[in-house]
């Protein structure tokens, strides 16, 4: 059966299993979303936004939508994928199913729990009705597909004036299942006035099984809220991820989304920031280090709708072998958005003869009093710097590694959790085969 037909059957099954409340607004949203998906189908290279990323090879696999078998996972098997050096809240899923055993949630003053409960229980209705699926892209069929199936995922609501004392880790593990998995997590994060939260998200396959994850996250930062979001993508070679993150910011809020893509077969990061207030700061940082035939696509959009806001975008990429990368950075400054400061930078190093990067800065500026800049570079390693290092006695291989490590450094410096920073530094060093201590 083709994946699209299989999804239709599964959607019908989901609607009729009675696990969902058919009376709620969410039901209507789901049905509408599935109809949208059915009408459009999966995106193809004919769509402008998917010109350089083909889903064909990942969609051709035979996936199971709702895996039957339950797999137990011991903490010791997955501990290394947590930032375990720090105390944190944890929301953990195994093959798309919540694991209470590995999780640490809370309802004490803040809600760090499950999307599935939030979608069902009346006490969350106000928040769900107000926020759910209000900023997720309605044009993108793959986003609609996720909306149609939205059930499992993280629900995080931080009421006003709270500094969440420890980071929240959201982890999705997939195990050695008999079937290929198609997972669709859906996350909702609402941070009210003056509150502050740090979130780390990771998708990790524990086997070489084929896995496709289609994830959607909506983040709402209300006035003066601060949200730091980190995405660690270092998955197995048969795991692919389509990640869509939508952010809405109100006055004086600061949101940073940092994406570290070091693995997986195909990774697509769609990141959308919508500023609806003044004095907002939006930060988008990314590091991509891939090889073999891996593919990473970073698609970002920042909508500057109001005056006096900033956005800072820094994406670094190192591509070896036959790996391919895409960077598409849109910055749209509305006529009203005077005094906007928007900076965008995308620097790439191609190490492989067959490695390619398609980079496309796209600035649409309708206001006349703005500071906007974009810079994009594609290059090889600096030969004069290499010779300089070798002259001081550093062998060519180490010198190359150090130069590449240094190339990523300004993006690593953006990480505000020290243990995570050290973890990412180590990951980068191991990807580049560099001795740390640097």
């Amino acid at each position: 059966m083709k994946l699209k037909d299989k999804l239709a059957t599964s959607f019908f099954e989901l609607e009729n299993k009675g696990i969902l409340d058919l009376e709620s607004n969410v039901h209507e949203i789901r049905s509408k979303a599935f109809a949208d998906f059915e009408a459009k189908g999966f995106p193809t290279k004919r769509d402008e936004e998917w010109k350089y990323t083909s889903l064909k090879s990942v969609l051709n696999e035979d996936y199971t939508i709702f895996p039957k078998g339950e797999n137990a996972v011991e903490l010791k098997d997955v501990k290394k994928y947590f930032i375990h050096e720090i105390d944190s809240y944890k929301i953990v899923f195994i093959d798309g199913v919540y694991s209470s055993f590995l999780s640490e949630t809370t309802h004490e003053g803040i809600d760090i729990c499950l999307m599935s409960s939030a979608l069902k229980k009346p006490k969350y209705k106000i928040i769900i009705d107000h926020y759910f699926n209000t900023i997720a892209n309605k044009e993108e069929s793959i986003t609609s597909l996720n909306t149609a199936f939205s059930n499992q995922g993280a629900y995080i609501h931080i009421p006003k004036n709270k500094v969440v004392p420890k980071p929240i880790q959201v982890l999705h593990f997939s195990t050695k299942n008999k079937e290929n998995l198609f997972l669709q997590p859906r996350n909702l994060i609402v941070v009210d006035e003056n509150s502050h939260v740090q979130i780390i998200e990771r998708h990790q396959s524990l086997s070489d099984n084929v896995v496709l994850t289609n994830s959607v996250t909506e983040i709402f930062a209300n006035k003066r809220a601060i949200v730091d979001y980190y995405k660690i993508q270092n998955d197995q070679n048969n795991a692919s991820l389509i990640d869509q993150t939508f952010v809405q910011q109100k006055d004086n809020s600061i949101v940073s989304v940092n994406t570290y893509s070091f693995g997986g077969k195909l990774t697509r990061n769609h990141l959308e920031f919508n500023q609806i207030g003044e004095h907002i700061d939006s930060n988008l940082n990314g590091i991509t280090i891939i090889g073999n035939k891996q593919h990473v696509d970073n698609h970002t959009t920042v909508f500057h709708n109001e005056p006096n806001c900033e956005s800072h975008e820094l994406y670094k990429g190192i591509y070896s072998d036959s790996s391919t990368g895409v960077f598409n950075g849109k910055v749209i400054v509305a006529k009203k958005a005077q005094k906007t400061n928007a900076f965008q930078q995308n620097n790439n190093i191609l190490l492989g003869e067959k490695a390619t990067i398609n980079t496309k800065p796209q600035l649409e500026i309708f206001a006349d009093d703005v500071k906007c800049s974009h810079g994009c570079t594609i290059g090889q390693l600096d030969e004069s710097a290499l010779f300089y290092m070798q002259q001081r006695g550093i062998p060519e291989k180490s010198a190359k590694g150090l130069l590449l490590y240094a190339f990523c450094n300004d993006a690593v410096d953006k990480i505000k959790i020290p243990e995570l920073k050290s973890r990412i530094s180590k990951l980068i060093a191991s990807k580049l085969d560099v001795k740390l201590g640097f």
């Binding site: 002259q391 001081r392 062998p395 130069l403 240094a406 300004d410």
Partner: protein, 245 residues
């Protein structure tokens, strides 16, 4: 210590060095002077092993061993140091980490363990004081945003740390004001002893007032056309390079 025999070198098929002969013994300071385009910087780059240049014929022998086939890092491990005319900026790598890595790579090549952190710090303290360097510079990215003078001082600091047998100073005086020049020259003089040697490459006589050479060679059109003692530098300064024929 270093013997250069009938060295011919070119870049992209353009011949630059056309038969250089030079012998430098331990304890000596040699100066190579010459007009722009005479091949001075090519000579230093070829000794250091820059792959941009092709050695067409001849040989370079360091302590009875030809170094022509050696990678730049191997030459560095054998004790060759070159202070660059234009030191490279490396964002993201601090000077201190860079020099630590360089020292430990050299030690590794010599079969030694990493230098203990305590000794490393002591050495850094000593050598940065010698060059009157602000320690804050050491934790900044290598040469990034440094002035010309700071970069040159940083070169000599690294030289002091690495303690080479043969130090090549390529146009070290360019970009230095007189105070910085004195500090740099003073540093070089303090590092000088009977077991090492210095090759100063310069366009002007100015630096040689402070680093006094035992021998001066005039390089023109890829060849050494005249050699003499330190007084030759003064004569060149007064009469210009056209005087030597």
């Amino acid at each position: 210590m270093l013997i250069i025999k009938n060295l011919h070198a070119s870049v992209n098929d353009t011949k630059i060095l056309k038969g250089i002969n030079l012998e430098i013994k331990a304890g000596e300071v040699h100066a190579i002077m010459g007009p722009n385009g005479s091949g001075k910087s090519t000579l230093s780059s070829v000794i250091a092993g820059n792959g941009v240049y092709d050695v067409d014929s001849g040989d370079i022998i360091l302590e009875n061993e030809s170094i022509l086939e050696m990678a730049p890092e191997e030459r560095a491990h054998k004790g060759i140091f070159m202070s660059f005319q234009y030191p490279v900026e490396i964002p993201g790598v601090s000077t201190i980490n860079f020099i630590k890595t360089a020292i430990n790579e050299k030690r590794k090549a010599q079969g030694l363990e990493d230098l203990p952190a305590k000794n490393m710090l002591q050495l850094i303290k000593e050598k940065s004081e010698l060059l009157e360097m602000d320690r804050k510079f050491l934790s900044r990215s290598l040469n990034q945003g440094f002035s010309g003078g700071e970069k040159k001082r940083n070169e000599i600091f690294q030289m002091a740390m690495l303690d080479p047998k043969l130090a090549i100073l390529d146009e070290t005086d360019s970009g230095l004001d007189i105070d910085a020049l004195k500090i740099v020259a003073n540093g070089v003089n303090k590092l000088k002893n009977e077991n090492n040697a210095v090759l100063v490459i310069t366009h002007y006589q100015r630096l040689l007032d402070y680093i006094v050479p035992d021998f001066v060679h005039v390089l023109k059109d890829g060849k050494i056309i005249k050699s003499g003692g330190k007084e030759l530098a003064l004569e060149l300064e007064a009469k210009g390079y056209d005087w030597v024929k």
